[in-house]
């Protein structure tokens, strides 16, 4: 397919646009829009099969396309040292052959029927995402049920896919400044809970997983009772339900992973991590413990993040990028999570700036947010930004499938998606200040610095090189 792209698009961005990739972090919000008004929760039809599988369907006949997403409650949170990264490896293996559809058939069948697919693994979930024309619905239900219940594990395929995963690790961590820094900051901030290890897995674990490890993981984690299926688009819910009964009723439920055995103990002092690499520019990443997504404090945290770094008039951008010109970019954010996790602030410092000064200025701005409730105008702005962002995620059938499934898994009910604007509206200036004051303490903080090993030639011409 010819891609009409602008110069500067990265190979990775193209790859993501074209074929199966996985993102070892929380899903990025999808851009989108459709012809149907986003209606309240009662436009979503639901069904729970006897084996525990839950199905959500939202009809939208304005575009001849269907998004079918399967959310499995399996992620790096369910792993242990020795098999870290196996959920993500498993996600790859789900495309490599099942009983009725041999090696390569899943992708071949989809693509020759005008469909595309992707998948991603996070700390908490593995999500399989399918997009296809309506006529392929039954084919998809057949293929998805087969790989849920009867995946095959050919040793040659395991070996080859191991290479692919290692290649992914290399490009997203080993050869990637931010990825390398994030991995270390994450591990320093989270010391005990399974969120401590990277979703992609430690290198030696990637090299050591066995086929038996995979089969065991599959048996435990992949079950209908551990799955939420979401269909949005040009389908009739009765058809989806009938096919769900036909293809999934026969798959037995079984107990899966329980809660992780280890809770993260409170952090009682600042942690500092340094990573040294051959690179041009330094980076900085701060991490602070925050409660899980489901927490009643989450709306205030979302408003706080918008306030801090959404738009060029945001607190951190205005100060660090614009006024003091210390950074190229700064962003505060978090990931959906089932257990308490982290709010991160990422800073890309300009060349030649003093990193201690960057940190000091950043902390000064965080102190400001903790000290005074934000003015009404700014609070209104943050809420408007959140609301516009909320609508943006709901533009496409893909975006809505993602949001419905995410809310169902992380907040306990898809209905929370429709209630969220109301919850955001209720957030007060004092509420934002209070939650900021709880989060942005020195004891709650992990600071990561990426230090270039060789200083760049910078504004002088380098004299080396063959040319």
């Amino acid at each position: 397919m010819v891609l009409k792209i602008r110069r500067g698009s990265t190979a990775a961005a193209l790859a993501a646009a074209v074929f199966s990739t996985c993102i070892c972090a929380a899903p990025r919000p999808a851009a989108a829009q459709t012809g149907e008004t986003l209606a309240p929760g009662d436009t979503v039809a639901t069904l729970r099969l006897d084996n525990g599988m839950k199905i959500l369907v939202q009809e939208d006949h304005s575009t001849p396309t269907v998004a079918l997403y399967l959310f499995f409650r399996v992620g790096s949170r369910d792993e242990r040292p020795g098999i870290t990264g196996i959920s993500h490896f498993f996600e790859h293996m789900m495309f490599n052959g099942s009983q009725r559809y041999g090696f390569g058939e899943f992708d071949r069948q989809m693509e020759q029927n005008g469909g595309e697919n992707n998948a991603y693994t996070t700390k908490d979930t593995t999500v399989y995402t399918d997009w296809f024309p309506p006529h392929a619905l039954e084919l998809m239900m057949s293929m998805e049920s087969d790989r849920m219940a009867h995946l095959t594990f050919d040793p040659k395929v395991v070996a080859s896919e191991r290479g692919v995963v290692y290649s992914e690790r290399r490009s997203s961590v080993d050869n990637n400044d931010f990825g390398a820094l994030f991995e270390q900051v994450n591990a320093a901030a989270i010391v005990a809970h399974p969120y401590h290890w990277p979703v992609i897995g430690w290198p030696s674990d990637i090299e050591a997983w066995t086929r038996e490890d995979l089969e065991e993981y599959y048996r435990q984690g992949y079950a209908p009772n551990n799955c939420v299926m979401v269909a949005v688009g040009d389908v009739a819910s009765k058809d989806v339900f009938a096919l769900a009964h036909r293809y999934f009723d026969g798959i037995p439920s079984h107990p899966t992973f329980g809660e992780p055995p280890t809770k993260e103990p409170p952090q009682r002092g600042e942690r500092v991590v340094t990573v040294r690499r051959q690179t041009e520019l330094p980076s900085m990443l701060l991490a602070f413990h925050i409660p899980e997504t489901r927490s009643p404090e989450n709306p205030a945290i979302q408003v706080l993040e918008a306030l801090l770094s959404s738009g060029q008039s945001s607190r951190l951008y205005a100060r660090l990028v614009d006024k003091d010109q210390l950074a190229l970019n700064v962003r505060a954010g978090d990931e959906t999570s089932l257990d308490p996790y982290l709010l991160t602030i990422r800073v890309e410092p300009r060349a030649g700036v003093d990193l201690a000064r960057v940190k000091a200025v950043l902390l000064e701005e965080l102190d400001r947010v903790c000290a005074q409730p934000v003015p009404d105008g700014e609070l209104r702005k943050a809420k408007n930004q959140w609301l516009a962002g909320h609508y943006r995620k709901l533009k496409t059938v893909a975006g809505r499938a993602g949001e419905l499934g995410t809310y169902e898994v992380f907040e306990g009910s898809y209905r929370r998606l429709f209630e969220e604007p109301g919850a955001i509206e209720k957030v007060t200036a004092e509420g934002v200040r209070d939650v900021a004051a709880k989060i942005f303490t020195a004891d709650n903080r992990t600071v990561g610095i990426l230090e270039p090993v060789h200083a760049s030639a910078s504004d002088k011409r380098a004299s080396g090189g063959a040319q």
Partner: protein, 463 residues
């Protein structure tokens, strides 16, 4: 019994896909203002948002020699101070609405892409028109933006996938072709406030502007507001593109190796001349490229990822811009398997060229392109972007509406002819980015004309 039923059910699922209805542009109005500005308005209900996008014809092609980045930097600065708003005031007003405002420059245009809640369209239009028509380019903001852009060159070198794209453009297209002019520290040094203001004066004029508004709006009222907001711009002159610069196929292979010490992977492009956006073979090429390197089950990805695990993803990219572009393999592999991966990519290209495709493969490509098309025209952003692309390139609406008919019309013979013509395994240009110490000997076989530069050296290797 159950097994038989399943087999039957499976068999029926393999039946040929039904013919899909063409995906066309929804209805929209198009008018030309007295000053020459084109205005497209399309109503799309759904989430309560509206896109206001503006295209300024020219883009990278409009950058004078030695000033690569002029159009881009000008675009970045239009919101950083206008006749009635300081940079802060603009940002505050924009953010207060929950709006977004982004400016990108591509080979043929500068694109302002903004989005607002539908209820705020009037405020949004006022902001966008202010930035597009009345920027003041304060000296301090110009200095700041140029400094940031210089730093972005450095940071691009921390991301091999970004960096290689710049090196590859400079090396493949060369200094005689506009697409070979990449933004460097030197080109930025040649751009100052005067040149920026002058470029804006010449380019951001009625005859050179196209505006697309798509969303949950009341069209008559909106059309009148747009006319008011943009009608005051002087008509000026529209951008005149240079004559097409034909890319030479007759040369021998050449290779550029960009040394990034301690890199654990080698990124590589394998490029040859491609097409422009009006090429009569473009639809056939889209189809065959789908098979060669345009989807997960492509031949390239099959060989380099699925069968051998050499890479996380391999694909082939063919740009469609105003001038002739390239056709290039783009992928990466770990350092040790560099030669194995490049050899395999070239062998796959040669097999594709020599053997062509079957009718079944062509059908699969057609089904894929048609089946995935609705998702490319689903959002207000995509629709606005398509409308503006038609305007910038001077293409008729049928370019979009007639796609399925053009796809149907591609015969197997024609498909195999374009493969032979456009997917040559000889005379290729190789661009590699990796640990030269480990690979320079073994990759020298790909071209006797080979060069090496350090990634730490300023710029991207072009002249």
């Amino acid at each position: 019994m159950k097994r038989c039923f399943l087999l039957l059910a499976t068999a029926s699922l393999y039946a040929a896909a039904p013919h899909l209805a063409p995906v066309k542009l929804p209805p929209f109005s198009r008018e030309v203002l007295p000053n020459g500005a084109v205005v497209d308005v399309m109503v799309r209900k759904g989430v309560p948002l509206v896109d206001i996008d503006v295209a300024v014809n020219g883009g990278e092609e409009a950058d004078p020699a030695g000033q690569a980045g002029l159009a881009e930097v000008t675009g970045t600065l239009i919101r950083r101070g206008t006749a009635t708003r300081s940079a802060d005031e603009f940002s505050t007003a924009l953010d207060a609405l929950g709006g977004t405002f982004r400016v990108q420059t591509d080979p043929q245009s500068t694109l302002v892409e903004s989005e607002f809640l539908a209820k705020d369209i009037s405020s949004g239009l006022a902001l966008v028109a202010d930035a597009v028509l009345h920027p003041t380019f304060p000296a301090a903001e110009v200095a700041k933006t140029l400094a940031q852009r210089r730093d972005m060159i450095k940071s691009a070198k921390s991301f091999p996938s970004r960096a290689i794209d710049q090196y590859a453009h400079a090396f493949f297209f060369g200094p005689a072709h506009p697409y070979g002019h990449v933004v460097t520290e030197d080109s930025l040094a040649a751009i100052g406030r005067d040149r920026i203001a002058d470029y804006h004066r010449r380019a951001y004029v009625g005859r050179n502007l196209a505006i697309a508004v798509v969303g949950d709006i009341e069209p008559a009222r909106v059309r009148s507001e747009i006319a008011q907001a943009f009608g005051s711009a002087p008509a000026g002159d529209s951008f005149r593109s240079q004559q097409a610069v034909a890319l030479d196929r007759s040369g021998s292979p050449k290779l550029l190796l960009v040394d990034k010490p301690e890199a654990t992977q080698t990124y590589f492009y394998i490029a040859q001349p491609g097409i422009d956006a009006r090429n009569p073979d473009r639809t056939a090429i889209e189809l065959v490229n789908t098979l060669f390197g345009g989807r997960f089950t492509s031949m390239l990805n099959e060989e380099l990822r699925v069968k051998t695990g050499l890479t996380y993803g391999a694909f082939n990219r063919i740009d469609e811009d105003r001038l002739q572009g390239w056709n290039t393999v783009a992928t990466y592999t770990k350092t040790d398997t560099t030669v194995q991966a490049i050899d395999l990519a070239v062998a796959t290209l040669k097999k594709f060229h020599d053997e062509g495709i079957t009718a079944e493969q062509l059908d699969s490509a057609k089904a894929y392109v048609m089946g995935t098309r609705p998702r490319q025209l689903e959002t207000i952003n995509q629709l606005a972007s398509e409308l503006l692309r038609l305007e910038v390139l001077g293409l008729p609406r049928d370019e979009i509406d007639g796609l399925f008919a053009r796809i149907d019309a591609v015969s197997l013979d024609r498909a195999n002819r374009v493969i032979r013509e456009y997917f040559e395994p000889r005379g290729l240009t190789f661009i590699l980015l990796g640990d030269a110490g480990k690979i320079r000997e073994s990759v020298s076989k790909y071209a006797s004309d080979h060069r090496e530069i350090q990634i730490s050296r300023p710029g991207f290797g072009g002249s």
